[in-house]
């Protein structure tokens, strides 16, 4: 299927975050499609681009914005998205990753492709990304801890990337491994989880067009605490499925063991699809605290959690006939 493409304009080059937020809201109120308007009014905004102390940092990325994936919800601010993270390799507190990730070196970076595929080996990140056009995708991000964000990721479709390595018929699963560098990642000194962190998807899940390999957020390269330089985003699953700082992608025939599932098999299933009907043993998954908006409201709003995080129409078919209670 051919998708409508607009000329690549890095959204944040034109728009500091508050303006970015405001304009998206404004456009929504007008009922207009943001990408089209942005393409039209682009450069005239440059004068308004006052540097924002808490605003986006990092190198800008050129990305197109195929709007059919965009969530309509209010965005989480850059600050919240980069200061409130779960990345245990940098510590278990939500503020630890932002504090401790400074020493991490996301460059140079290589990714090893292994397992049941015709093309395997070690690839430079640039070579991995080169054949693909970067896209911006505004996704809801639902943590298993019952809070959520709405984040404009920049990335490439995971499936299109994986196909280049020609997985064989024995490739039924794909595993993603996070880098293991104790010198740069102080959290690795504690055996909180089975290091290195590993997550995995069924191959049809990985091939779904919603799944992406992200390299940026808010039109900028990923900050270290968000999983630089390459991370997985699977928006219909709980956030921990999205392995960060990926160094290895391996095609498996059998279902790989995954870190959180090993730590608490009764609490963190292999699938971990967002499901308001299946509670975590220690808290309800029926609703979530939405950390979003421009900071005008003091407290995060609680909103209902949607099946498959609101992407049921796109992905429910992957699980047809499966008991989602048993396969949580």
């Amino acid at each position: 299927m051919k998708r409508f493409r607009i000329p690549p304009i890095p959204s944040s080059e034109l728009t500091p975050e508050p303006v970015y937020l405001q304009r998206r809201r404004f456009l929504r109120e007008l009922g207009l499609s943001a990408p089209l308007l942005l393409a039209g009014c682009g450069r005239s905004d440059e004068a308004a681009a006052v540097p924002e102390p808490t605003g986006p940092t990092g190198a800008e990325l050129q990305a197109s914005r195929p709007s059919r994936w965009d969530a309509k919800d209010a965005l989480t601010s850059w600050r919240d998205a980069t200061q409130y993270n779960n990345y245990y390799e940098f510590g278990t507190g939500k503020g630890d990753p932002a504090r401790n990730a400074g020493r991490f070196k996301p460059r140079p970076w290589t990714v090893e492709i292994a397992g049941h595929a015709e093309v395997i080996g070690r690839f430079d990140l640039q070579d991995l990304l080169k054949p693909h056009a970067l896209e911006e995708r505004i996704y809801r991000h639902r943590c298993v801890e019952a809070w959520s964000m709405v984040i404009p990721w920049v990335g490439i479709p995971l499936g299109e990337c994986l196909k280049r390595f020609k997985p064989t018929s024995r490739a039924k699963y794909v595993a993603f491994t996070t880098v293991n560098r104790p010198e740069e990642m102080p959290g690795l000194a504690y055996d909180v989880l089975a290091w290195p962190y590993r997550e995995a998807l069924r191959i049809d899940e990985a091939m779904h067009p919603l799944a992406i390999l992200a390299v940026g957020l808010y039109g900028r390269e990923l900050p270290n605490q968000n999983g630089a330089p390459l991370r997985l985003i699977v928006p219909w699953k709980y956030g921990f499925k999205g392995a960060k700082s990926i160094v290895r992608i391996e095609f498996w025939e059998r279902q790989p063991a995954t870190s959180w599932n090993l730590a608490g098999p009764s609490e963190y299933g292999f699938y971990s699809n967002v499901n308001p009907a299946v509670d975590h043993p220690r808290w309800s998954q029926a609703s979530e605290r939405r950390i979003a908006g421009s900071g005008t409201s003091l407290f995060a709003n609680r909103v209902p959690t949607l099946p498959f995080n609101g992407y049921a129409e796109e992905v429910a078919g992957l699980y047809a006939g499966m008991d989602l209670r048993a396969n949580y």
Partner: protein, 209 residues
């Protein structure tokens, strides 16, 4: 007629009262300054819960402290400490119910029945209510011997509060469980200090002799 010792006690009480309000002041200040991070509800929940538990354990430390120090006056600080523990526990509960759950407050019922960590937390708070209500001098007089019987509830309350914290930690998080285990150790120590060690030792010596 007030003796110097009474005046000293009044001063100590005023200072303690102010000190017990400091955590609340800190929370309100950080709230006003927007210092509570991206998820202020969670921050308030954690801080009020922490102080409820700390004050509860400090209250439980009063009796052993008196025995060890021999200063009888510390007993007269116990009611205030206990009431502040109840105050922070109620604040904690209110934040959860009205700010965190908010429009989803009906979830509290399934939480209480289905989630062991909430069950014991709620039980701890519920059992604190009759203790707070009967903490006045008049009530003490009216209840007589039953008063101290009733107030022995504080021992299971302490255990429930500690379990509440131990159980809320995600499984597999060995570091995260360290802090609640410190509270558990303190609770067990405070309970152990109440056992009649002297009598047991004397009995042992008696047997040996």
């Amino acid at each position: 007629m007030s003796r110097p010792a009474d005046i000293r006690l009044v001063i100590v009480k005023i200072v303690l009262f102010a000190a017990c309000l400091l955590p609340l002041a800190g929370m309100l200040w950080d709230l006003q300054q927007q210092n509570l991070g991206p998820d202020p509800v969670a921050a308030l929940e954690h801080r009020s819960g922490d102080w409820a538990l700390r004050l509860l354990l400090i209250t439980l430390a009063v009796t052993p402290l008196r025995q060890l120090s021999g200063v009888a006056e510390v007993l007269r600080l116990r009611r205030m400490l206990g009431l502040f523990a109840f105050f922070y526990a109620s604040l904690h509960f209110a934040v959860y119910l009205f700010i965190d759950l908010g429009g989803f407050w009906r979830q509290i019922f399934s939480d209480i029945f289905k989630r062991p960590f909430i069950t014991v937390g709620f039980l701890a708070w519920l059992l604190l209510v009759p203790l707070a209500v009967t903490s006045t001098r008049g009530m003490m007089r009216r209840l007589g011997r039953n008063w101290s019987r009733l107030h022995r509830l504080v021992y299971p309350i302490g255990l429930f509060a500690v379990l509440h914290y131990v159980w809320l930690v995600k499984s597999g998080q060995k570091i995260a469980v360290r802090e609640p285990l410190v509270y558990l150790a303190i609770y067990l120590l405070l309970m152990a200090l109440r056992l009649p060690w002297r009598r047991w030792l004397a009995a042992l010596r008696g047997k040996a002799a």
